[in-house]
């Protein structure tokens, strides 16, 4: 139902320690954000694409499809940032006049936008690495090790389990509404959707009650204890992560860091 979730359970890097994968994803993400350089961002996008496609053996098309998800937000927002409005035309590369105002694009803004766009895609690919190789349950177990409050962790794991049940229910209701032309026009769509949601709510409510009864029957006292699979840290992996991060920092310092400034001035 959720493709990312399925790949998280069936990818080739599944057996690696979740803490190692989390460290790798988050460190790279922070470096990408802090480096703020076109070169480093490109290096990180390529690195993560390589690890996901060749390491985790996720189909290439699926990874590309994922990369396209944030594109609509990125395009709208970067275009909004790039376009500037002023009364003087001198600094513009290209502009339109509208009621005495000049709406246009400046050269340095274009470079800024490209950098922003790539930086965002770089961190997005780090997020995808984590999402595609590590199942949610293991991410939750990493959070538990980080001493996130227990109630938060518990709610997270319960919600994760309920999502699939409710998604299934919602899909069933929607299919039967669709087969009865429930979404044929705007008014009917509004009515159908609100019936779907109110029914979903009531079903969720009774499912919670039912679930509690079954748990109580099995000795539930307010806490669900589960066995976590045991992983061992691999020195080799940690060394690789360390080397990769150091070389990313070196790339930034020696090639990437000044790149932006040089083009800019």
């Amino acid at each position: 139902m959720l493709d990312i979730d399925q790949y998280a359970y069936s990818n080739n890097l599944r057996s690696i320690h979740p803490v190692e994968k989390t460290i790798f994803a988050l460190l790279t993400m922070i470096i990408c954000l802090a480096a703020n350089s076109i070169i480093t961002s490109l290096a990180i996008i390529l690195l993560m694409a390589g690890v996901v496609i060749f390491g985790a053996k996720i189909p290439r098309q699926f990874f590309i499809k994922l990369i396209l998800i944030p594109i609509s937000f990125l395009l709208i927002s970067t275009i909004t940032i790039v376009i500037s409005i002023s009364k003087e035309a001198s600094s513009f590369l290209y502009y339109l006049s509208l009621w005495g105002w000049k709406i246009g694009i400046q050269m340095e803004n274009i470079i800024f936008a490209i950098n922003l766009f790539l930086k965002s895609l770089g961190t997005v690919s780090c997020l995808y690495f984590l999402a595609l190789t590590t199942p949610m349950i293991e991410i939750i177990s990493v959070l538990r090790k980080l001493k996130v409050p227990r109630i938060f962790i518990e709610l997270m794991s319960l919600i994760y389990r309920f999502i699939f049940v409710l998604l299934d229910t919602a899909n069933l209701i929607r299919t039967s509404q669709l087969s009865r032309l429930g979404y044929s026009n705007f008014k009917r769509s509004c009515q159908s959707l609100s019936k779907l949601i109110s029914n979903l709510f009531i079903r969720a409510y009774y499912r919670a009650k039912g679930l509690l009864t079954t748990l109580l029957a099995r000795g539930y006292e307010g806490e669900i204890r589960v066995l976590e699979p045991e992983y061992e840290f691999s020195k080799k992996n940690l060394a690789i992560i360390f080397l990769v991060e150091v070389s990313l920092i070196l790339i930034t310092v020696y090639i990437g860091g000044d790149q932006f400034v040089i083009i800019n001035t």
Binding site: F73, F152, L155, I159, F162, S198, F201, L215
Partner: protein, 246 residues
């Protein structure tokens, strides 16, 4: 201004609106979009609210039996599923309800901070909408500002004796709208325009959001009123029991 310019501007507007509401998730600030400084600031601003929210949830669970925990978790899953449903639209573009108004009215603002934060983590990791570095900013707009505005309006208009449908409509529509105003503020704080600074940037972002978000906010308001009427008609008892978690 020449004819050609009018033409170019209208082509521009059409192009932008074609790209725009691919879905309402498009308005989650994408991973890595905020500079490190602002990503950090919003995380720091969000944490006290989250801590208070967790405290509230913990107290409610401790005071009542464990069944409350199940109810809270189902409420969280409900919000996640809600935000993955398609909202009817007049223009034909697809979009999704935020569920902020309905959630805040049904479950109260404090549980919404915690549940909203969890839902946003799931949306980032399972659906690739939003992100972890921008989680702070997204939680602040979607799980703090939105629910508190919606809940505040709901309480205020109930007190004033406004009809229920109007109250629910305004709470849901304004909760939705102000969430995006907050997002616009966050984006323009991080990217102030070179001339005119924060205000000029805010005008630009608000202009873009006004085209896309106002119709969506109205639709969400309408749908929420319909949902609320159905719930009140058929499930009064459950709604009463639910009021303990808020």
């Amino acid at each position: 201004m020449g004819r050609k310019n009018y033409w170019l501007v209208s082509v521009g507007i059409v192009l932008v609106s074609l790209f725009l509401p691919e879905n309402a998730y498009a308005m989650h600030i994408a991973e890595g979009f905020l500079p490190a400084k602002w990503a950090g600031i919003w995380w720091v601003l969000m944490l006290p609210f989250l801590t208070l929210g967790i405290k509230h949830v913990k107290r409610v669970v401790d005071e009542h039996d464990p069944s409350i925990k199940m109810l809270l978790a189902l409420a969280g899953a409900f919000i996640f599923v809600l935000s993955s449903l398609k909202l009817p639209s007049v223009t034909g573009s697809t979009s999704h309800p935020t569920g902020i108004g309905l959630g805040a009215i049904l479950f109260g603002p404090w549980p919404m901070v915690v549940l909203g934060c969890i839902v946003l983590i799931f949306q980032a990791v399972l659906l690739a909408h939003g992100g972890l570095t921008t989680l702070g900013a997204n939680v602040f707009s979607m799980a703090i500002v939105g629910p508190f505005v919606a809940y505040g309006i709901y309480k205020l208009f109930r007190k004033l004796g406004a009809p229920l449908w109007l109250t629910v409509f305004l709470a849901a529509a304004l909760g939705n709208l102000l969430t995006y105003v907050m997002t616009a503020i966050q984006l323009s704080l991080a990217f102030p325009a070179e001339t005119g600074g924060f205000i000029a940037s805010l005008t630009k972002f608000m202009g873009v959001f006004a085209i896309t978000q106002v119709p969506l906010a109205i639709t969400e308001g309408l749908v929420t009123v319909l949902i609320f009427n159905l719930l009140r008609e058929y499930s009064k008892g459950e709604l009463k029991k639910l009021s303990i978690i808020s």
